[in-house]
Symmetry: C2
Subunit: 450 residues, 2 copies
């Protein structure tokens, strides 16, 4: 194994990606014989700032993890070295398999706090041990999918590409940011590994250092056009954007003469509205209306909305930092809470951190094809007439019961984003009604005031 | 291989964690025979908001990556499938090894924009291909180390533990957040995998769901005390914090009677100042001044500074979300730019994105043991008399020339944070002089105005 490879989280080591307390609590449950079934909800208490809805993502990762979760010899040796765990418990971990049931919102579904995203029913130890990983993945993937949905909505049909790997928080974030943003409607990513792993289309242009590596900008452009005559996108702002546009038009002439077509130019700095207008004029006057303009550089949904509103002649956007890190809301406060066990409904009453008891269902009411309101009920409580139940069974006894392609989830996201009411789809804070069903509401008030 | 395991980035696939353009540019260089040595600087243009200094981290990850970088059969097959690359270039990738020289700031060193953090001199293709990964890792690790340094400074000697895994951006972020925050002075992490991989001390208490899993809070506390009589930290805010404190005192009595000691109680919600005072009083009046108080719950450097200033009787802090995501500055704008090649010095002049040409050295001037100013010079330009050069050679011909333990880097960080002037160590924006040496300054002005 290469040096440093332990820094790569693997299927053999991911079981240790837990907060220590998951395992110390587990040993208590083990010794106390408290391993009867328990149900945990994964949910978000409140919308982050500047978000009117959330888009679900991460379920595939969660189900793969639950099916594959094991504790290998290296993990067990390390745990033994901590002096906290006894051999009986370590032997339990050695034989560990996840046998639980999982109900979940499908990926690409729009949802609102405090609706449960995932509901895990399993022997208590199994349900507890998976907490850290589930939160780590769902929090991040939902956060980026929700941010990307805003970017995609702002672009109003213009293609958006994920350019975020260099600013994402590490390697896993780069992979999952590419997937989550594609799920939300981006057309692809610059991340080649995400292309391989998820089958996402990959896109690329050139860097300023490429242009600087030649004696002249024209020479740099011509070399690229020579080697990629049908996939050529020229970065024109290394020295002077308008001069770059004129040189690009010259290369477009040369490509056309040899039966090819310059696809686009990219502007990565400066006043994108003004520059895109001037560049469009230069390209058009040179007889190249077919050459598109790609804009990038510190973009977010607000800047894109401004450019679109001002009718900037920009055909597509590359968005990196702000989308891949959900810059204006870089953490989602999803939590994972016990809601029911063999002793009945459970509730937490800590200040500001109250939970809803019991296994649940989430119902969605549409009016004229548009989201109208959601209702959270107990699992065995009827929903409003005609409402659509959103939580579906996805795992039974530790085995997945559904399998969905990324394309299907992406199609769901597209449909759901279209069916958002206007006040949620624009980029302001919106509000949406999430009610409790009568039985859940009565139970909650009884328990919260007990 | 288990299903889903491709989602785990591995030493075999990490080579594809590149923006596509790195590889298309590389093929251009390959075909044009432009693979002569070139030098790239990795640097940050400006301090993020609310930061007065940056703390270096990520070099170990970078050097391990550079030594191990390969393109395996699966990667090459995928690249072939894109229809962009020819067999000669794919064969070049098959044989790829990084042969470059690297100079760098050591981990744990304090630095300021626009000082180079890393300087890579290598055949152009090798230097180019590594860009995405280097930025992905250095940006994140520096960002978290710099945030954690602020948290550690605010705590004024009280231990701080990383509690961030559930809010970090994926698995790699969770590992690197634990390492970077430990490097910056945290005493450990809740992340068991980081404990195994890096040898970082691991800490844990219990969750609210644990307390809720028993018929009574007292029963939950007693069970934990029974199974971990010497490592018992009780979470007391599940129902009512003061009642929880009284029950904890009772368990402390029982532990004492059997020759053990309750280590601490944890408060995770509510008014931490007021609650910590009342809890301290309850514990003291029950004869347990030895039981410590650990506070957690949405903490950051500002809240910790307030609690410390108000003399809250809190002995240690658990900090999660805000530290692990660098919540108030969740992306660092590090860039990687060509500065020199065989044609001489190189410069980029895009609006707002100017670079400093040439290979460089960074010199630090101390006065009375305190940082006074830094000077960036050309590599062969003398520094100020008595100044300390900060960039050191860390890799020669693709082989590491230094190896440093995490403990050594952590000790450097401790020393450097101590030698910061007061106006940088408090939590406001500070300013610090970074000058250019006369030769670099003259060269820059000549090239920038050309």
């Amino acid at each position: 194994m290469p040096r440093g490879s332990r820094e790569f989280v693997s299927p053999e080591t991911v079981g240790l990606l837990v907060d220590l307390y998951e395992l110390t609590m587990a040993q208590c449950y083990f010794r106390e014989g408290k391993n009867e079934p328990a149900t945990f909800d994964l949910f978000v208490r409140a919308l982050p700032p500047q978000r009117a809805f959330l888009l679900n993502a991460g379920l595939e990762t969660v189900l793969d993890y639950l099916e594959g979760l094991r504790f290998g010899p290296e993990a067990l040796d390390y745990l033994r070295s901590l002096g906290l765990f006894d051999e009986e418990f370590l032997d339990y971990l050695r034989r560990f398999r996840f046998h639980g049931h999982v109900r979940a919102l499908p990926e690409g579904e729009v949802f609102f706090p405090p609706e449960p995203v995932l509901q895990v029913t399993a022997p208590r130890i199994e349900a507890q041990i998976v907490e850290t990983f589930l939160l780590n993945q769902v929090n991040f993937q939902v956060m980026v999918a929700s941010k990307a949905a805003r970017v995609v909505l702002a672009a109003q049909g213009r293609p958006v590409v994920d350019f975020s790997p260099r600013r994402d928080h590490g390697t896993d974030a780069a992979l999952k940011a590419a997937r989550s943003s594609y799920l939300a409607g981006c057309v692809g990513t610059s991340n080649v590994l995400a292309g391989m792993v998820y089958g996402i289309p990959v896109y690329g242009t050139m860097a300023h250092s490429y242009v600087m590596s030649f004696d002249s900008e024209l020479e740099a452009f011509r070399a690229y056009a020579r080697h990629f005559p049908d996939q050529c996108v020229l970065l024109i702002d290394t020295y002077d954007t308008l001069e770059g546009a004129r040189l690009a038009a010259q290369v477009a002439d040369e490509l056309r003469a040899s039966g090819h077509r310059l696809r686009a130019v990219r502007i990565d700095s400066g006043d994108l509205l003004e520059l895109s207008r001037q560049v469009r004029r230069i390209l058009d006057q040179a007889g190249h209306p077919e050459v598109q303009i790609l804009a990038s550089g510190d973009l977010n949904e607000y800047r894109i909305a401004e450019l679109v509103a001002a009718k900037a002649p920009i055909d597509s956007f590359g968005v990196g930092t702000e989308m891949g890190t959900s810059y204006d809301a870089p953490a989602l406060g999803g939590v994972y809470k016990l809601v029911e066990d063999q002793a009945g409904y459970r509730i937490k009453r800590s200040t500001g951190k109250v939970t809803l008891p019991g296994r649940k269902q989430v119902w969605r009411v549409f009016r004229d094809g548009v989201l109208y309101e959601d209702v959270i009920t107990l699992a065995d409580e009827p929903g409003p007439p005609g409402a659509e139940p959103l939580l579906v069974e996805v795992m039974v006894d530790g085995v997945r019961s559904v399998r969905e392609s990324l394309a299907e989830a992406r199609e769901r996201a597209r449909g759901r984003l279209w069916s958002l009411p206007d006040h949620l789809r624009d980029l302001k804070d919106g509000s949406y009604t999430v009610r409790l069903g009568p039985r859940l509401e009565a139970l909650f008030h009884r328990m919260a005031s007990a």
